[in-house]
């Protein structure tokens, strides 16, 4: 199976880069936004920006589900994790996301039973193996991940498992992108669509971008050549005056999405009327909660949580970076008070957050810029 080498070929990359340069208008500034943490990581790790003309600016949007979680929801999770009867399970990067009084890793060090899992199905297995304990899975993620939580809950229901529940923070991709397009802060030209979210929801949900906002969108894969080809496809649309949704990742993404996954999600979840996004405020119908049929597995109904809205630290500018208004290095505390070892905000915690990605991979090109000038 070809999957990596062919999509990292330097010769092909240079050829695609040359094609992009050939159709770039030197008098125009282009802003292309990607909304996927995996894309951010690839862009920085493989130096994609260095292969593009200076006229093309890549803007990183709120595509990392850890990064958009407000501190109050982290506090709610910690409140559940501190209960002695609970085994609290979550994905890796959630362990270091700061709440108002600390993070899950620190709470674990103080004695709470908090376990990292790679799948909600692992949490289900822990529940089966520990019938005398209450197992809670702290669910995060966009539509790529929601089906795995849905499938897990369907299995839990089939097994009539009584000691398992889910604290649901799943979010959806379309409402925040629409909020960004409505924002006066940004003037975007086009979107690089999230690859694996689209595997579930398909490409049709992005049609609002060309239809309502006149912005083209290309659904992109995650290898360097995937991103370069997607950027080329967007630049061709802009050059030719076309505006539509295209699927660069067609080797994986079906246009209609995964109907079985969507059906599973429709059974298990319903849309929350609104949900708070870090740095973006409340967005209508942008997150999921468990449906009435699965209320018995809803951790927010099973346990009382503070439910307090907590403001970000004053120095934290994660909100502006999440919206693409600021670049990571333009944040006042980037690399000084806020580093991956001592993060103030979520974007430095997640390995695919824009700040962490730039800190780990992007500073070499930044160091080329003369002191006192901005790129």
């Amino acid at each position: 199976m070809k999957y990596v080498d062919e999509f990292r070929n330097a010769e092909i990359a240079r050829a695609v880069s040359a094609e992009i340069a050939a159709i770039t208008d030197p008098q125009r500034h282009y802003k292309l936004m990607e909304v996927c943490g995996g894309h951010t990581h690839t862009i920085y790790r493989h130096g994609i920006k260095d292969l593009l003309p200076d006229q093309i600016e890549l803007v990183h949007g709120p595509g990392c589900p850890v990064c958009v979680l407000p501190m109050g929801r982290v506090d709610d999770g910690i409140a559940v994790a501190e209960r002695p009867e609970v085994i609290f399970t979550c994905f890796g990067d959630m362990m270091r996301v700061p709440g108002s009084k600390g993070n899950l890793l620190e709470v674990k060090a103080e004695g709470a039973d908090i376990r990292m899992v790679y799948s909600p199905l692992d949490a289900l297995r822990i529940a089966r193996e520990n019938p005398d304990r209450e197992v809670v899975f702290y669910a995060i993620g966009f539509e790529t991940t929601a089906p795995s939580t849905a499938l897990t809950l369907q299995r839990a229901k089939t097994e009539s498992l009584e000691n398992f529940s889910v604290f649901c923070n799943h979010v959806t991709i379309v409402p925040p992108v629409r909020a960004l397009l409505d924002s006066p802060d940004l003037r975007l030209d086009a979107f690089i669509g999230p690859g694996h979210v689209s595997t579930v929801i398909g490409c049709r949900p992005y049609e609002f971008m060309p239809e309502d906002y006149g912005k083209p969108c290309v659904v992109a894969g995650f290898e360097p050549l995937d991103l370069l080809q997607s950027i080329l496809m967007l630049m061709r649309q802009l050059d030719e005056g076309r505006c539509e949704v295209e699927n660069q990742y067609s080797r994986i993404v079906p246009w209609e999405g995964n109907l079985a996954a969507l059906k599973s999600m429709a059974e298990v979840f319903e849309l929350r009327p609104y949900f708070e996004w870090r740095g973006m405020g409340f967005i209508a119908q942008s997150a999921l909660k468990l449906s009435d049929a699965y209320a018995d597995f809803d951790a927010e109904l099973r346990y009382s949580v503070p439910g307090v809205r907590v403001a970000d630290p004053k120095a934290c500018q994660c909100g502006e970076v999440l919206k693409g208004v600021l670049k990571p290095w333009e944040c006042k505390v980037f690399g000084t008070a806020c580093t991956p070892e001592h993060p103030l905000g979520t974007l430095m915690v997640s390995s695919e957050g824009a700040c962490a990605a730039y800190y780990n991979f992007g500073r070499k090109s930044f160091e080329k810029v003369e002191v006192g000038t901005k790129k």
Binding site: M1, V4, T199, S351
Partner: protein, 78 residues
């Protein structure tokens, strides 16, 4: 599956980042199927994968997996 595997590849089960943040999709070949499918990555790591969302599956097929669940099938010549 033929491919080299750079260290910390996003395309194998050795991927060490956060599944959710990286929007990881790991291609795995189906080895055998009982309730779940026993699947193998490009470098020989194996794990159980839930396949209800892409059923039916057969041994030899390559599935795109995320968080222990198959969410798509990978085209044979991809």
């Amino acid at each position: 599956m033929e491919q080299t595997n750079p260290q910390n590849s996003y395309c194998t089960l050795d991927h060490d980042g956060c599944v959710v943040c990286s929007d990881t999709g790991i291609p795995l070949r189906v080895v055998s199927i009982e309730h779940d499918a026993l699947c193998e990555d490009a470098v020989g790591n194996r794990t159980e994968i839930a396949v209800e969302l892409v059923a039916p599956v057969t041994a030899g097929e390559v599935l795109l997996t995320h968080g222990g669940v198959a969410i798509a099938k990978v085209e044979p010549d991809a």
